[in-house]
């Protein structure tokens, strides 16, 4: 495998993941957030933005609203409040948006691609000339990398709160920091149980370990860990019922001084975190790009290799999308926690539960 091939393959994968997450899923989620919530509440939702094509106006079920929103945000005034720290004020949304994007580097989004055997049915991986993992970075410490990077985004929120020169924004930033730190502990401990089960930190190896059957999936081997991780991931995305840091409608959040595309970057970062949480859950608990119950093996034996790989990517996308929709549904079902309830749930509820889960998993693994 030449260097040029490796670089090209890596670039194509980066462009695919960026295009899928930032270019497709995030705009779709901004639409789905409004449309799905409208349907859940017996409303209609956004349906006004239209486009003039061939002399007719097309509304496309409101799907053009993300485009209209982007144009609106880009055309707004680029505003920095008086007294704000200009440099930090500018870099805060970059932290908030970049950190969740980088997490996708270790997420496997498809099975191993075997160049040169695209038309064969079920090519032998060992005889493959240049196997390409559909995963941007193959890191042995993959999940540690995820936690290291996703923790960085909290800098964005606290910096935004501090640099805004606004007491309420500062308090919002503090709330964000406290909440993120509280729930990251649970998140990490919930994952450790899965690490013990799989015996690896590498996401691709985890996905491969879940390939054999439905009962090999993380959800069934680590049910409590799955629930704890899901709740902690919801809290990490800072959306209702854990939207204390923003509280856009009543209490004022850390990005109160932000407007235009600067605010848009916070919003996009939040939605990327939603997709990131869905991708993490798909990888660790839901078998990644593989279907259970022998469907994966049947596809492998019946489809040419390129179609099998495409099917795997599509399955991964479907799983991520469904998990995103579930997160949106939770967001529009539950009201916000009070601050003391939030801390109580995090430190007195989820943390002991995750420790219990870890202990039980460790004892069970050692006993077996």
């Amino acid at each position: 495998m030449t260097v040029l091939f490796a670089v090209t393959a890596a670039l194509v994968k980066v462009i695919f993941v960026l295009g899928f997450v930032v270019g497709l899923v995030v705009p779709l989620l901004t639409w789905l957030e409004r449309r799905q919530s409208a349907m859940m509440q017996d409303r209609i939702g956004p349906n006004r933005a239209d486009i003039l094509l061939f002399g007719r106006r097309f509304r496309a079920w409101g799907l053009l609203h993300p485009i209209a929103d982007a144009i609106k945000m880009l055309r707004k005034e680029d505003f920095v409040p008086a007294g704000a720290h200009k440099g930090l004020f500018t870099i805060a949304p970059v932290f908030a948006m970049a950190a969740p994007i980088i997490v996708f580097a270790v997420i496997p989004f498809g099975p191993t691609l075997c160049w040169g055997a695209l038309w064969d049915v079920a090519p032998d991986p060992s005889s493959c000339a240049s196997p390409t993992r559909l995963q941007i970075a193959h890191l042995d410490a993959g999940l540690l990398f995820v936690f290291a990077i996703s923790s960085l985004s909290v800098y964005g929120y606290t910096l935004a709160g501090w640099a805004s020169y606004n007491k309420w924004a500062l308090l919002g930033g503090l709330r964000a920091a406290a909440q993120m730190i509280s729930y990251e502990v649970t998140m990490g401990l919930a994952i450790v149980g899965a690490l013990l089960v799989y015996g690896t930190l590498e996401p691709f190896a985890m996905v491969e370990a879940q390939r054999d059957g439905l009962m090999q999936w993380g959800v069934f081997r680590q049910p409590l860990g799955f629930i704890l991780f899901f709740v902690a991931a919801l809290a990490e995305t800072k959306r209702a019922p854990f939207d204390m840091p923003e509280g856009e409608s009543e209490i004022i959040g850390y990005f109160v001084e932000y407007g235009g595309m600067r605010f848009g970057m916070f919003m996009a970062g939040e939605f990327i975190e939603v997709v990131g949480a869905a991708a993490m859950i798909t990888t660790v608990f839901l078998g990644g790009p593989f279907l259970p119950l022998g469907i994966d093996a049947a596809l492998l034996q019946s489809l040419p290799h390129w179609a099998y790989v495409m099917a795997g990517v599509a399955v991964w996308g479907m799983k991520v999308m469904l998990l995103c929709m579930l997160q949106l549904a939770v967001r529009w079902t539950l009201p916000r926690f009070r601050y003391d309830q939030l801390m109580k749930l995090g430190w007195k509820g989820l943390l002991p539960a995750s420790l219990l889960n870890l202990t039980a998993t460790a004892v069970f693994s050692a006993w077996r």
């Binding site: 799905q36 349907m39 859940m40 509440q41 017996d42 409303r43 209609i44 629930i227 549904a329 079902t333």
Partner: protein, 178 residues
Amino acid sequence: MAATVKVVRPIRTWRDEIYLVEVLRGLYVTLRHLFVNVLFRRETTTIQYPEQKAKYPDRFRGLHRLMMRDDGRVRCVACMMCSTACPARCIHIEPAETEDANVEKFPAIFQINELLCVDCGLCVEACPCDAIRMDTGIHPAPVLHRKDALMGKVDLLSRAARSIAVQGGDGPDWRKHN
């Protein structure tokens, strides 16, 4: 005597405390609405405004209008009953004398400020000669400037009609008809 505070705490079982069961029940409700609305029918009561309009109640009054005599002149005799009855003081009348011996006065200026009007209809109740009515059912239009909401005689008479009520002079004696 010390005040006693009765603290009422909701009774929560362990099932409520772990949240999960109640969260799932909540999700069942919201997702049921989602699927029913997406797959079968829209339960929305939304009115798509520019295309559809809300139906006003039958007794909706709408904008004022002034009525005409048979010869097309304004029926109003500038008696100031309506502007006296008006609780919002939105009617401004400046009377003037007429040549007609049967009609003492007529309004030289008759202005209603639609921004002040509270649509109570008391001016119509007060009017002794069926000169002012609030039966057009026309919704007051939004205006760019406050002065545009001031309706003069021309505006009010543009919606006018001839009233069949007999006014002034030697009208029929209602006692005879009873």
